[in-house]
């Protein structure tokens, strides 16, 4: 018997997976930022819609903060950094967009295989949580390594961060609110710093190609 919340949750997780795949194939940076916003909103909704024990005030509070940060503040920051720079597109990444989507499918397979072997802690959750979370955790570093633009790399970082957030939902049913807020604050500060760094790279070098940073090497 599949409960209603389970159905909702599976739906959200499938959508998360899809945003991930689209992100791998997206070449326009603005498009990528919108996808990240959608992903953040989906993640924020996950505990509310997928929760089995009904709604608590704490849950709502966290969801609001998560959605506020991941779906509104982060994308706003990134848009600002994007507007400051010249680049609008990820023109020639190290791994092409089609190849990236294919690599994404491979990573999804690996994630599914791995999650089958991982000990599941939070029983009663959807079967999909673990594979999707692992998929996002693998996608993040992949985006960071395969893209040239600093902004795409930040997107990769956010995806990694989102993956860990989803993973935390599975592993720990009762994370203290303080810890969760701490993690969010971490991500917030990291993003803030990275946004500022991109801004500075733009200003100093007239581009934001992170692969040319090795010219700084002594």
């Amino acid at each position: 018997m599949i409960s209603l919340s389970q159905t909702w949750m599976d739906g959200l997780l499938v959508m998360l997976m899809l945003t991930n795949l689209i992100l791998l194939g997206a070449s326009r940076l603005g498009h990528g930022i919108r996808l990240i916003a959608i992903q953040g909103a989906l993640l924020g909704a996950l505990p509310i819609l997928g929760g089995q024990h009904g709604w608590t005030a704490r849950m709502l509070f966290l969801a609001v903060i998560t959605i506020g940060l991941k779906a509104v503040v982060f994308p706003w920051f990134l848009h600002r950094a994007l507007r400051a720079g010249e680049a609008r597109r990820e023109d020639n990444p190290f791994v092409g967009h089609t190849a990236s989507v294919l690599a994404g499918l491979v990573m999804l397979t690996v994630a599914t295989c791995l999650s089958a072997r991982l000990p599941t802690v939070g029983a009663g959750h959807s079967m999909l949580v673990m594979p999707v979370a692992l998929f996002m955790i693998l996608t993040g570093p992949f985006l960071i390594t395969s893209r040239r633009k600093a902004l795409s790399q930040i997107l990769g970082y956010v995806v990694l961060e989102n993956g860990m957030y989803a993973f935390g939902l599975v592993m720990l049913q009762d994370v203290p609110a303080l810890v969760e807020l701490g993690i969010l604050l971490d991500a917030f500060v990291a993003l803030f710093v990275m946004g500022a760094a991109v801004h500075q790279i733009n200003r100093e070098f007239d581009h934001m190609d992170a692969d040319q940073l090795d010219s700084l090497k002594g």
């Binding site: 791995l114 693998l138 570093p141 992949f142 960071i144 390594t145 395969s146 940073l213 090795d214 700084l216």
Partner: protein, 665 residues
Amino acid sequence: MNSLVWMLAGLILMVVGGFASAFFGVRRSRYTRQIGAWSLAAGCAMAMIPSCQTLWSGVSVQLALPWPITLGTFHVGLDPLSAFFAIPICGLSFLGAFYGMEYLPSNSKATGFAWAGYNLLVASMLLVVLARQAILFLTAWEIMALASFFLVAFENERESVRRAAWLYLVAAHVSAAFVAALFFCLGHYTGSLDFDAWSGGSSLPSGIGTVIFFLALVGFGIKAGFWPFHIWLPEAHPAAPSHVSAVMSGVMIKTGIYGLVRVLTFFDTPPMSWGWTLVGIGITSGVLGVLYALAQSDLKRLLAYHSVENIGIIAIGLGLGCLGLSTGRSLLAFVGFAGGLLHVLNHAVFKGLLFLGAGSVLHATGIRNTNRLGGLLKAMPVTGRTFFIGSLAICGLPPLNGFVSEFLIYFGAYHGAVAFHSGLIVSCLAVVLGMALIGGLAAAAFTKAFGIVFLGEPRSREAAAAHEAGPAMRAAMTILAIFCPMIALLASSILQLMAPVLSTVLHVSAGVLTSQLEETVYFLNQIVMISLFFGMVAILLLLLRRSLPGAKNVESAVTWDCGYARPSARMQYTASSFAQPIKALFAFLLGSHSHLTPPRGILPQAIASFTSTAPDRVNERFYHPIFEAILKGLRRVRVLQHGEVQLYVLYVAMTLVALLIWCLR
């Protein structure tokens, strides 16, 4: 209340004061210097009182606090040995702080950070001598290395300073690595990381003791500056601000000696080979240190090489002490350790004084190269006279303190040389010869240093415009200069005070030492009295000369100059020309390079020149090839270090995924 709580409170006060000074320094506040120096002074006073108490009463105290670190307990203790090292640390740092108040530029943002580093350095040195647990000791050791690294790099806008700081950082960490290996080796065989558990070190398996000794010799020897681990001293000491050089050379390198002596206390009777090694290293460091010092023209570099020499003398003392312990000759063991340890105190006093003097010369003229100084005694009477006293003391002349400790070592060496023991006679004769050579060369080196810098005519415009240092700087130098004869005159009481220290090292009760003490002190007092008599005669003659009617009118005229009417300051002896005969004599050891472009023709057109340098041979022949080879070997690995951020992330990600797959396989 436990007196250690006082001491720790003093340490905390210094560190907090230092950071407060850094905070005020960023805002360019007027109080930066005051906060830094006074908090340090208060902290030193708080640490000094319990140390003196412990030395006086011979009672040691311990304190163990819980410390939430793996394998670590905050176990500190104050025994006479720690107190004996803590007292010069507190005293010299105290004086150095007041000196630094005037010495450091007051309007720089970095001044506050210099105070933070200085206070942290002093606190960590004290913690090193207090620590009774390996992890705590290593932590303090590391803080000490880093704090002094930042101080060495204080004037980091200069390329040479950055290079010196870099070299020092590498040396300090090689030292830390060996000390860590030493502690983990001891910990492995005794099952504890607490110093108390190690005191029965002789029960270790036979070969391990020697391994431990050699690890200690290298680890602590790098910090102390034994030859051939000394190469960081002549680079780092000139680079640091002068009061920091004084503290680093006067007391920080002694923490290496402390570590070595502490390790020796873990063993009841060391094998003969340890004593021979120490004596050998001591003679080598002493002779080569003083020879290189003689060849230097940079004043602070010269002093740094003299630190190598004096560390050598300390090592000779400790080596003789070890030989005395192994052959069961208690008098030799007593005088050896007493001489070595007393030289630790003496060297802190006169080397601190000399570095402060060099600093005030540098402060007044901005010049460290002795070939451009000269005639400073007239412009800087206090600096010049105190420097003179320090020079006499470092040469080991009576009735000053350097003589006392060197006399003890000579006394031990003669005692050992007449003993019918083949292993002793050779090493003791070598000590006598080596010490005599060191003493003579040191006298030559300081005749050169003092004569070139303070006598004659100024060799540059900056030297001619020199002015005396400020009151705090003068006070610090004067106090240290007073200590030089004081320690010598009070030698017998000081040796009595040292009895509990020596009983810690020699594992006998302080009462047993009295007979040896009396025998030593008898000779010592006689020589001090005789030299005091001659000193008095000299002073009387001087006064007599002053009171003579002709002494008042002094005429100044040019030197007799073969009829040439325009002698210039450049016609004086230079530092290099003074040292040349000795350098030529020891050319086979020094290997100094000189480059001569002689004038050609009757009316030479091209500019003639002469340069001579004495680069350190150990550096050229030993370290340079080794580091080149390491660099060459690592060139293949350096391909990985390409600067591509993306690939770095890929390394991390791939490693993590590989680990995950490996765990779940």
